[in-house]
């Protein structure tokens, strides 16, 4: 049982880490701010979600597992809000480059 859980953890965390890689590549390579925004927030929030999922398999106490999920939900909410605000508010190019 513990071995199976360990395996699930390794799978989920590896997949999560891969999405961080994808997000970073997008942030570096995509041509303009809005597409970068798109690449970054989706990939990273998914990456964090998979990392959280992997760690939940290692948690024995319910409260600790819930706390991990809360961290992810808070990050999602913050990410969605800020992304929306950036897309609407922030000037795509700064005042002096």
């Amino acid at each position: 049982m513990s071995l199976a859980l360990d395996l699930l953890t390794i799978l989920a965390v590896s997949a999560g880490v891969f999405f961080f890689l994808a997000g970073t590549v997008g942030l570096l390579r995509f041509p303009d701010a809005l597409t970068r925004l798109h690449a970054l927030t989706k990939a990273d929030n998914l990456g964090l979600g998979l990392v959280v999922l992997g760690l939940v398999f290692q948690e024995e106490r319910l409260f600790a597992a819930l706390k991990l999920i809360t961290v992810w939900l808070l990050t999602l909410l913050a990410g969605a809000t800020v992304t929306r605000l950036i897309a609407r508010n922030a000037r795509p190019a700064g005042p002096r480059g």
Binding site: T24, V71, A90
Partner: protein, 89 residues
């Protein structure tokens, strides 16, 4: 398992480091705020992985705090960046 999680934490941190290059390049405030967000998400993932790898459950509380404060700082960044035009003094 601990070594794997520590390695994963190191890898995420490495990705964050690469993303920080975007702060250097900019060119706009939007990119810089995004890079700060990447840093927040990546930092949270790193903390959660460290908490499990080092058996420091308190690091999850640090991640929780960071998640809240990252939202707070990002909102302030966006508000400040958008508002700086309007009130110069």
């Amino acid at each position: 398992m601990a070594e794997f999680l520590l390695a994963a934490a190191g890898f995420v941190l490495g990705m964050v480091a690469l993303g920080l290059v975007r702060i250097l390049w900019g060119p706009g405030d939007a990119d810089r705020i995004m890079a700060a967000q990447l840093l927040g998400t990546g930092g949270i993932a790193t903390l959660l992985l460290l908490a499990e790898a080092m058996h420091v459950p308190a690091a999850v509380d640090v991640a929780l705090t960071l998640a809240l404060l990252a939202a707070f700082v990002s909102v302030a960044f966006v508000k400040g960046s958008a508002g700086s035009e309007a009130d110069g003094a």
